[in-house]
Structures are given as structure tokens and as C-alpha cells.
């Protein structure tokens, strides 16, 4: 366990050295710039739009970090041949993979936490720019803790994307890994269509296949409750728990697969 921690810390330090946290500056500039401009363009929907934008930006920046760092984590060590020196130390292969994953997960958590703090600061500032009668018609207050529910599921989604990226990176090149990870993320948003496939095809075999894919492929649409929290619609805790559990199990499956593949790789 301690070895995993060391590897993870190393990944985190490396990502800081690689200026990954610069994405936070881009996020802050985007949000502050947009909050100023949006008021001039939206005919009274400023708060809704800044919330939509903030949540979408957290998800997007996180996704970019998860994919583009995740795909290089294992490949970089192999390409630089530093994998030999790492594995010659008392670091077992599964510890290496799990450490890499935990390191990137930590990077993402720090990123999302800081973006969330910046997001709430912008919302708190915007809140002061409106009069009481305008605030009264918002479906939720500007600084609404309920939005943390959407952010929590974004985190779970990012952890799942990271696991997918690491899984692919254990056996393919970064370009292919990126394509496969993004492809799976996109397909994961069409899960509902796979479920309803039998309504549009006559072939029972095709319907069965679509149904099977619906259960096997990750359902990314389940992690998206951004619109619900912006309108202060109820998102039950039971939903959060089951969705998070679904994400955790899926991450477990992917990491187990990544460890199994990596354990069999021959680096000679």
C-alpha cells in the first residue's frame, strides 16, 4: 500500500511539474470573463448560464486532464525505458498501475476542488450584483450547495475515464488510447439508445446484442445531473450512492483488467 502511495505522489508531483494546474487559470479566466459578458447577452438568464458554464467547464477540463494524462502514464515509462529501473525496485506491477491511477485521481481531485472553489467564488460575487427581487425568482440561490451533487458525480465520471485511459494505455499507443477512451466516453452517452434498440430493429439477435452492449458499456449519461441541480430539482442521495457505486465497480473492473494485461507484458 505504501508503494502505491509513493507512485501516486510521484505522479501528482510530475503533473504539477508539467503545469497541469495551469488549467485552473484557464478555468478562472473563462468563468470570470464569461460572467461579465453573459450579463450583456442573455436577457436575464445570467445565473443559470454561469452555472451551466461552470459545471460544464469543470467536467471538460477534468475530462481533458483525465484523457491526455491518463493515456501517457504507462506509455511514457515504457517509452523512456524508465519502467526497467522502476520494476527492478521493490515495486510490483499491480502496485505500479494502481499507484499511477491513484496519482492521477489525486491530481484530478485537487483540480476539481480548486475549480469548484473558484466557481463558488464567482457565484458569490455575481450574487452581490443582483437585487433581491431578481434573486427571488431564481430556482435556487446563487451559492447553492446542491450543486456539489453534480460535481460529485463529475468526479466519479472522471475517475472512470481515468481508469479507461489507463486500461487502454497498458497495451496501446497514446493516440490509439486517446481515440478509444474518447470513443467509449461518447458511446457511453448513447446508452439509452442501445436500451431502446429493440423498438427500431426487427432482428432479435441485433436487439439482444444492443441490450448486451447497454449493460456492458459504461453508462456515462448516468453521471450527468448538471441540469437538475441548476434547476434545484431533487437528486436523491440513493441515486448518488448507486451511481457512485456503479462507477466504483466499473473502475475496479478496468483496473483489474489493466493490472492483468500489464502483468503479462514483456518489456524485453
Amino acid at each position: 500500500m505504501r508503494v502505491i502511495g509513493y507512485v501516486a505522489l510521484n505522479v501528482f508531483k510530475e503533473s504539477v511539474r508539467d503545469r497541469v494546474l495551469y488549467s485552473l487559470v484557464a478555468f478562472a479566466v473563462l468563468l470570470i470573463g464569461a460572467s461579465y459578458l453573459i450579463g450583456q447577452l442573455t436577457a436575464g438568464q445570467d445565473m443559470k448560464i454561469i452555472k451551466d458554464l461552470g459545471l460544464a467547464a469543470i467536467a471538460t477540463f477534468g475530462l481533458l486532464i483525465a484523457v491526455f494524462i491518463g493515456i501517457g502514464l504507462v506509455w511514457k515509462e515504457v517509452e523512456r525505458r524508465s519502467i526497467y529501473s522502476i520494476l527492478s525496485k521493490p515495486v510490483r506491477r499491480h502496485e505500479f498501475i494502481l499507484g499511477k491511477y491513484a496519482g492521477l485521481a489525486l491530481t484530478l481531485l485537487v483540480n476539481v476542488a480548486m475549480m469548484t472553489a473558484a466557481f463558488y467564488l464567482v457565484l458569490a460575487y455575481m450574487d452581490t450584483q443582483f437585487e433581491e427581487n431578481v434573486r427571488a425568482i431564481w430556482p435556487a440561490p446563487a451559492v447553492d450547495p446542491g450543486m456539489l451533487r453534480a460535481i460529485a458525480l463529475i468526479v466519479v465520471e472522471l475517475l472512470l475515464v481515468t481508469a479507461i485511459a489507463i486500461f487502454f494505455s497498458t497495451f496501446s499507443s497514446p493516440l490509439l488510447s486517446a481515440a478509444l477512451t474518447v470513443g467509449l466516453w461518447v458511446i457511453g452517452h448513447f446508452n439509452a439508445d442501445l436500451r431502446n434498440f429493440e423498438a427500431v430493429v426487427d432482428s432479435p439477435a441485433a436487439a439482444f446484442l444492443a441490450r448486451a452492449l447497454y449493460y456492458v458499456l459504461p453508462n456515462f449519461a448516468a453521471f450527468d445531473v448538471k441540469a437538475q441541480v441548476v434547476y434545484a430539482l431533487p437528486v436523491p442521495v440513493s441515486y448518488l450512492v448507486t451511481t457512485a457505486a456503479y462507477g466504483a465497480v466499473y473502475v475496479g473492473v478496468l483496473l483489474a483488467g489493466a493490472v492483468a494485461i500489464f502483468a503479462r507484458r514483456d518489456f524485453k
Binding site: L41, T42, A43, G44, Q45, I49, L53, A56, H189
Partner: protein, 294 residues
């Protein structure tokens, strides 16, 4: 080595800005066949393409709808085309079915008569009914549907039916029942129109809707004032045998106390005995007077 690089950077940066200014002064790129282009018109396709960014895309389409409406309305083109307005509102509300302002303001935008809007109350009703399908408890959509029937279609029976339907929805104000009855009894009278706009000015939660209602109320006041001024001109003509040359004649004859101005503060026009709003008044064009229910 650092200084030359910095100087080069400044020079090239300045050159890019200068070229952009030249580009702008020359009127930008050659005009394309149509500036009004919407790449994806199908709400269903856009919902799928949006992945998890449907709310954000709805915001973008909403901003585009506002820009399209405002830009067209303010343009000097005599043939104002609001072709994209409904498709943009349809996309907005399909991507985010709870985007209430898009239904309500969109209905006003669509209903406005040319040149202030496309003059499509049918599409406004279609949009509001879509809103009601998405949120059947939203009494405001039913109220506005009634209002579109009342003001723009002058179908008072249908308007009364919608006001009645709105009154039955949870959370609806009790005065809506009265509005439904009044509309059926006196639909088309200026008094009932004024009462409806006053209700909206009082209860609308969006500033834009309240402003629109205040604007309509000022127009109704102007219509009342125009009636009074025309009556004074008629009396003057009957008495003297000639129309007044200007407001001063009416003032000297004791019909007026001073120069009459409309509720926006712009003087009324009197030309050859005909009284009208000044063309520069922001109250132009006055709405078509609804016909009384027969």
C-alpha cells in the same frame, strides 16, 4: 537574443492587429449566400450530439435567439426576416425543456407584428404548448397562451378558455378566473386589454416581461390620448369650419392647456387635422386595436 525576440513579437502582434483593422475597414469577408445559417435544425439530432452539454448548448442557442431577434429588429433592412427565430427557440427548449424564459419571451418575440417581429402567434402558441407538455403544472404557459390568443389573434373565446385552464393549475393566482370571465364578456375592449397587461406588469417575474407590459400600457394610454385629441380636433373643425393649423390653435380655443406629448414624452403630431404619434416616438407602431366581441 531576448530583446530582438521581444521586438519581433511586438512588431508581429501589432501587425496582426493592424491587418485585422484593415480587414474590418474593408467590410470583412465577401457576403455569403445567406447569413442566416443553422447547421443543425433537428432538435432530436442536436440533443444526441450534445452529449452531456445539452444545458450549455441550450444557453448558446438562447443567446443566439436573443441576438437574432434583437439584431433583426434593430436592422435597417426594410425586409426584416426572422427566419431563424423559431428554429433557435425550438432547439433551445428541446435541449433544456425547463428553460422557462425561452418559452415566455420566445412567445412574445414570435407574436410581435412586423417589423417588430415575425408576426407568428401560431408559432408562439406552438412553443407555449410545447412548454406545457414539458411542464404541465406551469400555469404561466397557459396564461401566456391565452394572452397570445387575446392580443395577437383576437380570439377571445379561445383566450378565455386558456385563462380558465391556467386558473385551474396548481399555484395559479385566483384573479385568473376573473380574467377568464371578463375576457369572455368584454374581450377586445381597451379596458380589458389594459387589465390584462396590468396583471402581467404586476406578476411577471422577468424584468423583460414587465418592461414589455409597461410598454404596452403606455401604448394603450397613448391610444386613449389620441382619441381625446381627435375628438377635440373634430369639435374645433365643427365650430370653425376648418381644421386647426397646429396645437396652438386648439390651445387658444381652450381645448388644450399646452403642447400634448405622448406617454414617452414625445409631442403628438397634428398635420392637416390628422392626429398621430410622432414617427420618432418609441411607442411606434401602436398595436392594432382588437375588434370587440360581437
Amino acid at each position: 537574443m531576448r530583446w530582438p525576440a521581444a521586438v519581433l513579437l511586438v512588431l508581429l502582434g501589432g501587425g496582426a492587429v493592424a491587418l485585422q483593422a484593415v480587414h474590418e475597414r474593408r467590410g470583412g469577408p465577401p457576403a455569403s449566400a445567406s447569413e442566416n445559417l443553422l447547421y443543425v435544425r433537428s432538435p432530436e439530432a442536436m440533443r444526441r450530439l450534445a452529449l452531456s452539454y445539452d444545458a450549455l448548448l441550450a444557453d448558446l442557442y438562447w443567446i443566439r435567439a436573443v441576438q437574432h431577434y434583437g439584431g433583426t429588429r434593430l436592422s435597417t433592412d426594410p425586409r426584416k426576416q426572422y427566419d431563424l427565430l423559431y428554429p433557435l427557440l425550438d432547439l433551445t427548449t428541446s435541449l433544456d425543456p425547463r428553460f422557462n424564459l425561452a418559452y415566455l419571451l420566445g412567445a412574445i418575440f414570435l407574436s410581435e407584428e412586423p417589423p417588430g417581429g415575425p408576426g407568428r402567434p401560431d408559432l408562439a402558441i406552438h412553443l407555449l404548448e410545447k412548454g406545457l407538455r414539458a411542464q404541465p403544472e406551469k400555469w404561466e404557459f397557459a396564461q401566456w397562451t391565452g394572452f397570445v390568443h387575446y392580443w395577437w389573434r383576437q380570439d377571445y373565446e379561445e383566450a378565455a378558455a386558456w385563462f380558465g385552464r391556467a386558473a385551474k393549475l396548481p399555484g395559479a393566482p385566483s384573479w385568473l378566473t376573473l380574467v377568464a370571465a371578463t375576457t369572455l364578456a368584454q374581450g377586445g375592449s381597451r379596458a380589458s386589454s389594459r387589465a390584462l397587461w396590468q396583471d402581467i406588469a404586476r406578476t411577471a417575474d422577468q424584468e423583460w416581461s414587465r418592461n414589455a407590459a409597461q410598454h404596452r400600457l403606455r401604448q394603450l394610454d397613448a391610444m386613449d390620448q389620441l382619441d381625446q385629441l381627435r375628438a377635440a380636433v373634430t369639435v374645433y373643425r365643427d365650430r370653425t369650419g376648418t381644421p386647426p393649423d397646429g396645437w396652438e390653435d386648439l390651445r387658444r380655443a381652450g381645448y388644450l392647456r399646452g403642447m400634448p406629448v405622448d406617454p414617452a414624452g414625445v409631442p403628438y403630431r397634428l398635420v392637416d387635422g390628422a392626429v398621430s404619434l410622432d414617427p420618432g416616438s418609441p411607442l411606434n407602431p401602436l398595436p392594432t386595436e382588437p375588434a370587440r366581441l360581437r
